[in-house]
Amino acid sequence: MSASLVIAGREFRSRLIIGTGKYKTYEENARAAEAAGAEMVTVAVRRVNLTDRDKPMLVDFLDPKKYVYLPNTAGCFTADDAIRTLRLAREAGGWSLVKLEVLADQKTLYPEMEETLKAAKLLIKDGFEVMVYCSDDPVYARKLEDAGCAAIMPLGSLIGSGLGILNPVNIRLIVEQSKVPVIVDAGVGTASDAAVAMELGCDGVLMNTAIAEAKDPILMASAMKHAVIAGREAYLAGRMAKKRYADPSSPLAGLI
């Protein structure tokens, strides 16, 4: 794939970021990450289980030296909760590149944009590099970029829904106006959805459920890797114009 993805000065060869939730085991998760060719994985911050400490640990399967851990704020519904979570993440991990998501309600997990923008500003002031999960509203996307976010990550459709890219026009508008990377986060259901996101000119795709809940997650991870590469190359190649009628590929001259 041509040219790497650069986020907050860090360079990635892979444009596919994967989540680490919903897998049957961390071992399966690690094999999926390998098959996806991912270099960055999202992780959640949760209380240590003090009663059962023999439980498998994520870090024992996905080596933080091999994968860039991107701590998220999944489950946070206010700016305050998100900031508190990411400060803990920074202390646990020792790095400041994070994924901010502030959600509006349990039913849709739709981004709460007012709180998201507020949290983004405070986090950036506090030295964080913020990759921000957001709605596909180009106006809010611009405000987040102006606030200093390191990547704009609009939803393709609702988290975990697998409905694909529901508003390609808005995603395209966000891509056109943004100077920082645009990464479709959430909504991808299958490989063609990832390819569509990349054909729209997105710089990357972040997904979890599409791989974790596939019947064969490892094979789907590989499919996603190829889809992201294919979509990126198609975008760079520049697609042909759409036409309303047929246009023969074989010459008309010399017909018998």
Binding site: T20, V43, A44, L50, R53, V59, R84, E91, G160
Partner: protein
């Protein structure tokens, strides 16, 4: 001494600092973050941060997530 850790209240005796607590719980400090009464305790300060009766602590780490 009564401490509330991760929402659970329990009795801990013979502990003076956050460092003592982390050791008593058998946790690996490298992989954790600790919050004491809503303020983050930097790893470097575990040994110098005393615990008092009624303190509320959060001890977190990274788990799988999307």
């Amino acid at each position: 001494m009564e401490l509330i850790i991760n929402g659970e209240s329990a009795r801990y005796d013979g502990l003076r600092t956050v460092s003592d607590l982390v050791a008593a719980l058998g946790l690996e400090p490298k992989k954790l973050a600790v919050e004491l009464n809503r303020a983050i305790v930097p790893k470097s300060a575990y040994g110098a941060t005393p615990l008092s009766n009624g303190d509320t602590l959060e001890i977190v780490h990274f788990v799988g997530g999307g």
